[in-house]
Amino acid sequence: MNHAVVLAAAGELTSTSTGEAVTFWILAPVAVLAALAMILVRSAVHSALLLVANLFCVAVFYLLEQAPFLGFVQIIVYAGAIMVLFLFVLMLVGVDSSDSLVETIRGQRLGAVIFGLGFAGLLVFPIGSAIDGVHGKGLESANAGGNVQAIGRLLFSQYFFVFEAVSALLVVAAIGTMVLGHREREGGRINQREWMRRRFTEGRQATPLPGPGVFARHDSADTLGLLPGGGRASGIGGIAGTAPESPANGGPADDDDGSGSGPSGGGPSADDGQLGGDDAALAHVGKGEQR
C-alpha cells in the first residue's frame, strides 16, 4: 500500500509543472557535474560513485516524467546491481588503478573535444530548435491504471516477443560470463590431503597468518597485509621470500600483482603468478621425490 502512496506522490510531484521545473533545474547541473567529474577524476572508485550520483539524478528525472516504474527500476537495477558489480570488479582489478591523465595518443584529446562539441552542438541546436515549444500530451491517460500496470500490459502484449528475446539475451549473458570467467585447472583436483602436504612442505608458513588488522591495515587483493618478516602476504598461502617471483620484487608501483580470487568460487584459483610459484616449488619438490 505504501508504494502506491509513493507512486501517487511522484505523480503529484510532476503535475505541478513549477515543482518539476524547480527539481529539474536543481538536479540537472548536479547530474552534469557528476558526469563531468566521473570522466575527469583520477581514481576509478570515485568515478564509480559519481556515476551512481548521476544515476540517482536521472532516476528522479524519470519520476518527474511520469515514469515511476522506470525510476525505481533504475535505482534498483542500475545503481544497485550494476554499479555494485563495477565496484566489485574495481576491487578485483585494483582500487587505486587510476591512470594518469596524460594523453598518450597524439591528437586524441583534441579530437575528442572537437567531435564531442560538434556532436553536442548538432544534437542540441537543430533538434532542440525543432522540438522547442512542444508540450507533449503527458502520460495521464496512458498511466491511467497506474504506470506499472500499463507497462506490464504493454510488455506482455505488444512487446511479448521482444521480452522473450531479451530474457534469452540475459541467459546468454550469464553463460557468457561463466565461460569468460572459467579457467581450466592446471593440475589435478587439489584434495585435502594435497593441501596438507603443501602446507607442511619444507619452508612454508605452517601456522595460519595473523588475522587481519594484526599488523596490516587491510589485506585486499591490491594492498596485501605485511608479514612479520617484512614481506607482503600474497593472498592465501603466500610464502615469504621463497617463491621465484616473490611479491618482494613489487610489480608496477600502483598495482601489486597479487589479485584476489575470482568473484565466483569454483576452487581456490589463486592468481596466476602465485599459483605458478607453488607449482615451481612443487615441481621442484616433485622432481626431487621422483628421482
Partner: protein, 649 residues
C-alpha cells in the same frame, strides 16, 4: 604539241607472248634460288639462257612491231586484276610500245652480254649460282618496270629493282663495307620511292585510276589543275632522282661500286639508273603540262652534270671514276629530257648509247681489275696496253665514244643534247648549253686521265716483289661481250641519230621536237664541242702522260680546295650524315630512353604510387581502441551533419 591521244590496241599474235619477257628471267631466278646446291654446276648456264631467251622474245616483238604502222604500235595486254577495291581498281598488265621495246632490247641485250661476261668474271666465286639468280631477278624486275601499263606495277618493278640492286651490292656479304653500301643504296632508293608512292596516290585522288591510259588521258585533256599536276611531276622527279642517283640523292651510287663489276656495269651504269629517265619520258604527258617541273628537271640535270664531272676527276679508284661519270652522263639525259618534247627522243638516244659504251667501259675496267688481282687503284696501273691489247682496244673505243670523238655514238648523241640545250633559247638556253659544253670538256679530261693512267705511261706495278702483279688478257667469255659492246658503242650513235631514225621511231610516244631556230648553226656547234674535247684531252695528256704519275696521291694539304672537296664527294655524304643520320641516331636514343623512363615510367610509377598510398593508409590502424572510437564519432558527426544539411535545411 602533246602526243596523240592515248589509246592502246589489245595485244594479239606475237604480243600475247609479251608476258614471257618477265616470266623467263623470273623462272630462271626461281629455279636457281630454290634449286640450292644441286644447281651449282650449271646454274650460270641456266641464268644466261634465261636472259638470252628473254632477249630473243624481245627481238621477235621488235620485229613484229616493225611490221605494224607507226601509230598502231602501242599494245596493251591485261594479265590479272591485282587490287580490286571499289574505286581503286589496279590490274597488272603489260604495255609494249616503241619506248618500252627499246628499253626491253637494251635491258635484255646488255643483260645477256653481262651474263656471259659474268661466267668468266665470277668463275672462282663459290656462290656464283646465287649471283646469276639475283641477276635474273634484276632482269625480271627491270622488265616489269618498263613493261607495266600501270603506275603501280611500275612502282612494284621500281622497288623490286631496288631490292635486286641491294642483294647484288651486298653479294660479297663478308665485306662489312658492301653491307653498309647496300643498306645505304636501299634507304636512298626508298626515299625516292616515297615520292613516287605519293605521286601515285595523288593520281588516284585526282583521276580515280593509276593506269597510264587514264592518267595521261586526263593530263593531255588538261583536266587536272596546274598546281596538282606540277606537284605530281615534282614527286615523280623525286622518285627518278632517288633511282637514278641525281643531285639530292646521288650519294649512294659511288658506294654501290662495292658490288661485283658486272653488277656495276649492268645495274649501276646501263639499266637501273636509267629508270629515272624512263619514268620522266613515260610520264611525258604530265611533264608537258607543267613548265615549272621541267625547269626543275633541267636544273637538277645541269647540277648533276657538274657534280659528276668535278668529283670524277679527283678519284683514283677506277670504278668510282666510272660511277661519277655515269652520274654526270645521266645528268645529261635529265637535261635533255627536261627540255620538253624536243628532248625526249634525244635523251633516250643518249641513254641507249651510254648504255652501250658505259657497260663496255665497266666491263673493260672489270677485266683490268681481274687482271690486277682486284686492285682498283689507278696509281698502281700504267702501261697495260701491251699486256691486255683487246681490253685496251675495247676500252679505247668506249673511251672515245664517251668523250664524243667524232663519228662514234657519244659524239652524235651528246652534241644533239648540247644543241637542244642551246636551242632552248634565252639566257637559260645559253646557261644550260655552256654547262653542257663545260661538262663535255671535263668529261674528256677525266676520261683521258683514266685511260692514260691505266693503259699508257710507265707501268707503276711490278711483276716481282710482295704485291707482284701478272696482268694477262681476260678469257674469251669476258672479252667477247666487251668487243660486242665496243662495236655497239661505235655504231649505235650514228644508227640512232642519222636520218632521225630513233626520233621518228619514238615520235608516237615521246612527241615530235619542233625544228625551231638554232642559236648556233650545227656546224659551228660541232666545231665548238670538238675544241673543248680536244682541250680536255690535251690537258689530261700534259698532266698524266707527259710527266710521270706519282705512285701515291698527294695529301689533302697540298691539293687545291676543289680537289679536297671532290675527294669527299663534295661533302654530300657528310651533309647526309649531319642532316639525317646523326640526328636520327640521337632521336632514336632519346626515344628509347623516353620510352623506358617516360611512358613505361608512368605505368610503373602509377603502380608504385598505389603501393605507397596503401603503405601510408596502413598506418591508420594504430591498434588503439580509442582512436577507432574517435574516428567512429567523427564519422557519426559527419553523417548527422550531412543528414541535417539534406533534410534539416
Amino acid at each position: 604539241m602533246s602526243p596523240a591521244p592515248v589509246h592502246y590496241a589489245a595485244a594479239s599474235g606475237a604480243f600475247s607472248l609479251s608476258w614471257l619477257l618477265i616470266a623467263l628471267p623470273l623462272a630462271g631466278a626461281a629455279v636457281l634460288l630454290l634449286g640450292g646446291r644441286r644447281t651449282d654446276r650449271f646454274g650460270h648456264l641456266i641464268g644466261t639462257l634465261a636472259a638470252l631467251a628473254s632477249f630473243v622474245v624481245g627481238v621477235v616483238l621488235f620485229a613484229a612491231m616493225l611490221g605494224r604502222d607507226g601509230d598502231d604500235r602501242a599494245l596493251s595486254q591485261h594479265l590479272f586484276s591485282w587490287i580490286p577495291v571499289n574505286g581503286f581498281q589496279v590490274d597488272v598488265g603489260l604495255l609494249v610500245d616503241q619506248l618500252s621495246i627499246v628499253f626491253v632490247l637494251l635491258i635484255t641485250g646488255v643483260g645477256t652480254l653481262i651474263h656471259i661476261y659474268s661466267i668468266g668474271y665470277m668463275a672462282h666465286d663459290p656462290a656464283r649460282r646465287k649471283f646469276f639468280a639475283y641477276m635474273n631477278l634484276f632482269l625480271a624486275s627491270m622488265l616489269l618496270l618498263v613493261l607495266g601499263n600501270n603506275f603501280l606495277s611500275l612502282y612494284a618493278g621500281w622497288e623490286l629493282v631496288g631490292l635486286s640492286s641491294y642483294l647484288l651490292i651486298k653479294f660479297w656479304e663478308y665485306k662489312p663495307a658492301a653491307a653498309t653500301a647496300a643498306n645505304k643504296a636501299f634507304y636512298m632508293n626508298r626515299v625516292g620511292d616515297v615520292g613516287l608512292a605519293i605521286a601515285i596516290m595523288l593520281m588516284f585522288a585526282t583521276v580515280g585510276s593509276t593506269s597510264y591510259a587514264d592518267v595521261f588521258g586526263a593530263a593531255s585533256a588538261n583536266v587536272i589543275g596546274y598546281g596538282t599536276i606540277t606537284a605530281m611531276a615534282l614527286l615523280l622527279l623525286l622518285g627518278a632522282c632517288g633511282k637514278s642517283g641525281q643531285f639530292p640523292l646521288q650519294a649512294w651510287l659511288p658506294d654501290a661500286m662495292e658490288g661485283p663489276t658486272p653488277i656495276s656495269a649492268l645495274i649501276h651504269a646501263a639499266t637501273m639508273v636509267t629508270a629515272g629517265v624512263y619514268l620522266i619520258v613515260r610520264a611525258g604527258p604530265i611533264f608537258d603540262e607543267t613548265q615549272a617541273a621541267r625547269t626543275v628537271v633541267v636544273i637538277i640535270g645541269a647540277a648533276t652534270i657538274l657534280i659528276g664531272c668535278v668529283i670524277g676527276c679527283a678519284y683514283d679508284d677506277i670504278k668510282k671514276v666510272l660511277a661519277y661519270s655515269t652520274v654526270s652522263q645521266i645528268g645529261y639525259m635529265f637535261l635533255a629530257v627536261g627540255l620538253g618534247p624536243a628532248g625526249y627522243a634525244i635523251g633516250i638516244m643518249h641513254l641507249l648509247a651510254h648504255g652501250f659504251f658505259k657497260a663496255g667501259l665497266f666491263l673493260g675496267a672489270g677485266s683490268v681489275i681481274h687482271a690486277m688481282d682486284d686492285d682498283q687503284d689507278l696509281r698502281h696501273y700504267g702501261g697495260l696496253w701491251r699486256k691486255m691489247p683487246i681490253t685496251w682496244a675495247t676500252f679505247g673505243l668506249g673511251f672515245l665514244a664517251i668523250i664524243g670523238f667524232p663519228g662514234l655514238s657519244g659524239y652524235f648523241t651528246k652534241d644533239r643534247i648540247i644543241e637542244t640545250a642551246f636551242d632552248k633559247g634565252g639566257t637559260s638556253g645559253y646557261l644550260l648549253g655552256s654547262i653542257a659544253l663545260l661538262g663535255a670538256g671535263i668529261t674528256a679530261f677525266y676520261m683521258s686521265r683514266l685511260f692514260l693512267m691505266t693503259f699508257h705511261g710507265k707501268p707503276r706495278w711490278s711483276s716481282e716483289g710482295e704485291n707482284a702483279r701478272h696482268p694477262h688478257e681476260s678469257p674469251v667469255t669476258m672479252t667477247g661481250p666487251m668487243i660486242v659492246l665496243a662495236v655497239g658503242s661505235t655504231f649505235a650513235g650514228g644508227l640512232f641519230v642519222l636520218g632521225h631514225s630513233m626520233q621518228d621511231w619514238l615520235e608516237p610516244v615521246a612527241g615530235e621536237g619542233v625544228e625551231g631556230v638554232h642559236t648556233f648553226s650545227p656546224l659551228v656547234l660541232t666545231l665548238l664541242t670538238l675544241v673543248v674535247v680536244v682541250g680536255g684531252f690535251a690537258a689530261a695528256w700534259l698532266r698524266y702522260q707527259a710527266r710521270p704519275v706519282e705512285a701515291t696521291a698527294r695529301p689533302d694539304s697540298e691539293v687545291t680546295l676543289v680537289t679536297v672537296a671532290a675527294r669527299h664527294d663534295l661533302f654530300a655524304n657528310t651533309f647526309n650524315e649531319t642532316v639525317a643520320m646523326r640526328p636520327g641516331q640521337y632521336l632514336t636514343r632519346f626515344l628509347v630512353w623516353l620510352d623506358l623512363v617516360g611512358v613505361d615510367g608512368f605505368v610503373r610509377g602509377s603502380a608504385a604510387g598505389i603501393g605507397g598510398l596503401s603503405g601510408r593508409m596502413r598506418r591508420l590502424q594504430t591498434g588503439f581502441v580509442r582512436s577507432y572510437a574517435l574516428s567512429m564519432l567523427g564519422g557519426a558527426v559527419l553523417m548527422v551533419g550531412a543528414l541535417l544539411l539534406v533534410w534539416g535545411g
